[in-house]
């Protein structure tokens, strides 16, 4: 049974982001630039419009973003 907060999560997954978004291929093309801007504390969302919305709508791209972010952050501290 899907209830309460899980219900909202399920509806969010069904409806996806409200904002315009890029597709998976454009996300992959821009991911390295986006992550470096994030790690530099710059406005990555302004520099790459539509990528944040895509990450909200695509779990696979979100996982790859989170991995690259974590790996590059760790690499910078080595």
């Amino acid at each position: 049974m899907i209830e309460g907060p899980h219900l909202k999560q399920a509806v969010r997954r069904l409806l996806g982001p409200a904002e315009p978004e890029v597709g998976c291929d454009a996300c992959f093309e821009e991911l390295d630039r986006y992550v470096e801007l994030e790690l530099a504390g710059e406005d990555a969302d302004a520099a790459v419009p539509g990528l944040r919305a895509h990450l909200d709508g695509c779990p696979a791209c979100r996982e790859e973003h989170d991995s690259l972010h974590a790996f590059v952050a760790g690499d910078q501290q080595r």
């Binding site: 049974m1 899907i2 209830e3 309460g4 907060p5 219900l7 909202k8 399920a10 509806v11 969010r12 997954r13 069904l14 409806l15 996806g16 409200a18 315009p20 978004e21 890029v22 597709g23 998976c24 291929d25 454009a26 992959f28 093309e29 821009e30 991911l31 390295d32 630039r33 992550v35 470096e36 520099a47 790459v48 419009p49 539509g50 895509h54 709508g57 695509c58 779990p59 696979a60 996982e63 790859e64 991995s67 690259l68 974590a70 790996f71 590059v72 760790g74 690499d75």
Partner: protein, 233 residues
């Protein structure tokens, strides 16, 4: 062919961008990135540079495997290391094939890492679903419930859920419905579904996006604005 295509199997549909991506100016390359490109292109240094590149890619692939290991208890250490090595090998091929595409929008190492992480995560998602049936039909349509809500909200949201379920059944094409249900309701990873349907990730996401737009339009036309409700945690 994009790296996303090579991480799936076959390409049968065109990939249409949802909105046009921005194209940054070509950046001046940092010294380390220049050195990587130079040594990968010069015959005298190429072999040694490829070996160094493979080591970098393998480190990134192993990082991804280690991150996901808790979710893959049935895989043994040897299996996981094989997956990391395969991911690094495939990423190396993609990077060498696409070397001229590197625009210097990031450091060269960040650019190559994303190929290794994509290959590793895609292989791990596929391995996790190996031998499992991919459900394309709703696994529990009647399972949406608003019983934990306040009475007024419950009535409003019951209407919303009925409208949403009807829209999925009536407004979408059969292909859009299958893709939406598999990806958004049943939690099938997009690259797993792409492999089973012999298509690619970009084309599937376009189908998902179109289905979502249709559902939103249908709800909007019936005065069911959802975004405020969805933003409340």
């Amino acid at each position: 062919m994009s790296a996303l295509d090579t991480a799936t199997v076959g390409i049968v549909e065109p990939v249409v961008p949802l909105i046009a991506p921005t194209k940054p100016q070509r950046s001046a390359l940092d010294a380390e990135s220049q050195e990587w490109l130079r040594s990968l292109r010069l015959e005298d240094t190429r072999e040694e540079a490829i070996a160094r590149l493979h080591a970098l890619l393998l480190r990134a692939a192993r990082f991804e495997v280690a991150r996901r290991r808790p979710a893959l208890p049935h895989l043994r250490g040897n299996d996981l290391d094989d997956i990391a090595t395969e991911a690094a090998d495939d990423a190396l091929m993609s990077v060498l094939r696409r070397l001229d595409d590197f625009r210097g929008a990031s450091r060269f190492t960040t650019w190559v890492y994303k190929f290794a992480l994509l290959e590793a995560s895609s292989k791990l998602r596929k391995r996790a679903w190996q031998g499992r049936e991919v459900p394309l039909e709703p696994e529990g349509w009647g399972t949406f419930s608003s019983t934990s809500l306040e009475p007024d909200a419950e009535l409003e949201q019951s209407e919303l859920l009925i409208t949403l379920q009807n829209a999925i059944a009536e407004v979408l094409t059969p292909h859009q419905r299958s893709v939406l249900v598999a990806l958004a309701l049943n939690g099938v990873p997009i690259d797993v579904l792409a492999e089973r349907l012999n298509t690619n990730r970009g084309a599937l996401y376009k189908t998902l996006h179109d289905a979502r737009r249709k559902l939103r339009k249908h709800l909007d036309e019936r005065g069911l604005a959802l975004d405020n409700w969805l933003e409340e945690r």
